[in-house]
């Protein structure tokens, strides 16, 4: 699936990232040591059920977890800056440098476009504000040209009318495309797309995915695509990380994982996918995804796993490495 322009240089590496949320009794871990890496021009997919920590991962990469709500408790996130070749450790830089990364190097689009725009401000002001943060001096003309070009590339026309409207005047699909244009305004190299289509109708999902693929090629973006929907991920991702209860249970090239899943959870996920034209019932995974924080000893998937035995409940399985692939299961060594 890696038919896009790819080079092997890493652009983002995160290792042993942990994060937790506060609650009245104790801190609830949402990420428990996740490693991910992203190459220049690559698209990685992050899959998992709700509560697996995938959205927390998106927030953590940009250090966006509210101080009141939780904290990032460990790990390193290293971003390779292109111009200087310098490595920036996002998890330890100061706030003003962090602001230069946010939106300028790494952008984020979220699930519900209506909540990512300020409802009382017109679209143009959103663009202008975001542009001004990263370009101290600029000509209004240049900004207008740039925004028009971006809107054009996400198929929103005419720019003048779009920019003069308030967020609530758009349909969800249009606004999500506008939010992509906004995310790309300062020419970021990485785009984090957190469930970008799950609040949209299926037909509109398709369009948004097309736009995303198109943008990826046009702007040579590296993309972190987060979704609960493996079908969507398979459309765009080169490599996949499967998250379960705040940990990566399996990772590797998309094609290989789809062909030959190793971890029982991945296997179950793939079996539960509805296939076009296939007969028979959808096989669901027995049990429920664990509540964050309710994870006990041993493999967190063990309670729902049909292969699990005593050992699985006692010890946490270490990752098994094989080429580009990795998985964490005692039963599949």
């Amino acid at each position: 699936m890696s038919k896009y322009c790819m080079s092997s240089g890493y652009i983002l590496e995160a290792e042993k990232v942990s994060a937790e949320y506060f609650s009245s009794e104790k801190d609830i871990p949402a990420l428990r040591g996740v490693d991910i890496s992203l190459r220049e021009g690559e698209c990685i997919g992050i899959a998992g059920e709700s509560g697996s920590g995938k959205s927390t991962l998106a927030l953590t990469l940009l250090q966006l977890i509210d101080e009141d709500e939780g904290r990032i408790s460990g790990g390193n996130i290293v971003f390779h800056e292109k111009a200087s070749g310098e490595k920036i450790n996002i998890s330890s830089i100061n706030k003003s440098r962090l602001r230069k990364v946010r939106g300028k190097e790494i952008s984020l689009i979220t699930q519900d476009p209506y909540t990512s725009f300020n409802p009382v401000i017109k679209l143009y002001r959103h663009f202008r504000e975001a542009y001004r943060v990263h370009n101290k001096v600029f000509k209004e003309r240049d900004l207008k040209d740039k925004v028009s070009e971006l809107l054009d590339s996400v198929n929103l026309r005419p720019a003048e009318k779009i920019l003069n409207s308030y967020p609530h005047q758009f349909s969800g699909g249009m606004l999500q495309r506008a939010s992509m244009a906004l995310a790309l305004l300062n020419g970021p190299r990485i785009l984090i797309a957190d469930e970008p289509t799950s609040s949209l109708d299926v037909t509109i999902q398709k369009k948004v995915m097309e736009t995303l693929k198109d943008l990826r090629c046009r702007y040579n973006l590296s993309i972190i695509f987060i979704s609960h929907d493996l079908n969507l991920i398979s459309e765009i991702a080169d490599r996949i990380y499967i998250l379960y209860a705040g940990k990566t249970v399996e990772s590797g090239p998309a094609s290989e994982i789809f062909k030959n899943p190793r971890h029982p959870y991945t296997e179950a996920l793939l079996k539960s996918l509805p296939k076009l034209g296939a007969r028979g019932s959808i096989i669901s995974i027995p049990g429920r995804a664990p509540q964050p924080g309710a994870v006990k000893e041993g493999c967190s998937f063990a309670p729902r796993c049909s292969y699990a035995d005593k050992k699985c409940f006692k010890k946490e399985p270490p990752p098994v490495l094989s080429g580009e692939r990795a998985w964490a299961c005692f039963k599949r060594q």
């Binding site: 946010r102 909540t115 409802p119």
Partner: protein, 312 residues
């Protein structure tokens, strides 16, 4: 909304007046301040022998043409009496509103931004004290300390005795010095209410995803607070302004009386104490109208501030 409310308020005012045991006139006869002519005039204007509902509607039709009749005490037109007192009330309330908004906004912002930090907790205690403290007692104590003990500020009226002979700027300074105590003591309750409201409103907005999204675009915290959060948090404050008005107007009765402020509130108190019915009822209607105008302005402001309302 406006018409039934106005209707209801005139109804309440009218029937409260008729709650008096016997007719309003009986009460008056015993009052030495009222002369026989006034009682006759009253019988005439109110048609007191006719059934209640007819009295009400004939009164209402006169009210519609701003004819509230004349005062029992000095026979002057009620509209005129109110009109000459209104500017003082409006001056006091404008200063009051300016004061509470000018102070509540920074207090609200600081306590929301420093949520749960020491300064927020200190401000929360102050705010709690602010709306628990009986403002009229504070007014009396300020009056005694700054007016009597220190002699810094005048304690009653709006102007000094020699006001007429002062040059223009001294006149302004004179009124300003008379304004300090009434304005400050009235402001305590409103200030506490408003800053608390703004704080919780800002905390609500700060939690919104669009603030997080803006942060993800690299927008600095300062503009997050001042542009995005404050603007959105301010929208519900406009409605609060509408809610604040009745309390404000009611409060003016108490505070204008304490400080002998020559406004409508004190006129209301004097009229109530003297059973000057036409004046009382006239003020009741004017207060209701002022409240409604305030609410109407708040609605317009709301629509102006929130495009989602405007385009519906």
């Amino acid at each position: 909304m406006m018409i039934p409310v106005l209707f209801g308020i005139t109804l309440i005012t009218f029937f409260v007046m008729h709650l008096t045991p016997g007719s309003p006139v009986d009460g008056l006869m015993m009052s030495p301040e009222v002369d026989a002519g006034a009682i006759l005039r009253l019988r005439e204007t109110y048609g007191l022998d006719r059934p209640l509902h007819i009295q009400y509607f004939s009164w209402l039709s006169r009210v519609a043409t701003l004819n509230f009749g004349s005062s029992f005490r000095d026979g002057r037109k009620v509209t005129l009496k109110i009109a000459e007192r209104l500017p003082a009330t409006i001056l006091l309330n404008v200063v009051y509103l300016f004061l509470i908004f000018a102070l509540a906004i920074p207090i609200g912002i600081i306590s929301a931004v420093k949520h749960n930090k020491a300064i927020d907790k200190i401000l929360a205690v102050c705010v709690f004290a602010g709306y628990s403290v009986p403002a009229f007692v504070v007014a009396l104590i300020l009056m005694m300390y700054f007016g009597v003990e220190l002699g810094w500020l005048p304690v009653s009226g709006m102007v000094s005795i020699n006001y007429e002979f002062l040059p223009f700027w001294s006149k302004v300074a004179d009124i300003a010095s008379h304004l300090v105590l009434p304005a400050v003591s009235t402001a305590i309750g409103g200030l506490a209410f408003l800053s608390r409201y703004l704080r919780s409103s800002m905390l609500e907005v700060i939690k919104q995803d669009y603030i997080k999204a803006a942060r993800a675009r690299g927008i600095p915290e300062k503009s997050l607070v001042l542009v995005h959060t404050l603007r959105n948090a301010f929208i519900p404050m406009i409605t609060v302004f509408g809610l604040l008005l009745p309390a404000l107007i009611g409060g003016s009765v108490v505070f204008e009386t304490i400080f002998s402020w020559p406004g409508m509130g004190r006129l209301a108190y004097e009229a109530i104490m003297a059973r000057d019915y036409p004046v009382v009822m006239g003020i009741g209607v004017v207060m209701a109208v002022l409240t409604l105008i305030g609410n109407f302005l708040a609605d317009i402001g709301y629509a102006a501030a929130d495009p989602r309302i405007r385009y519906e």
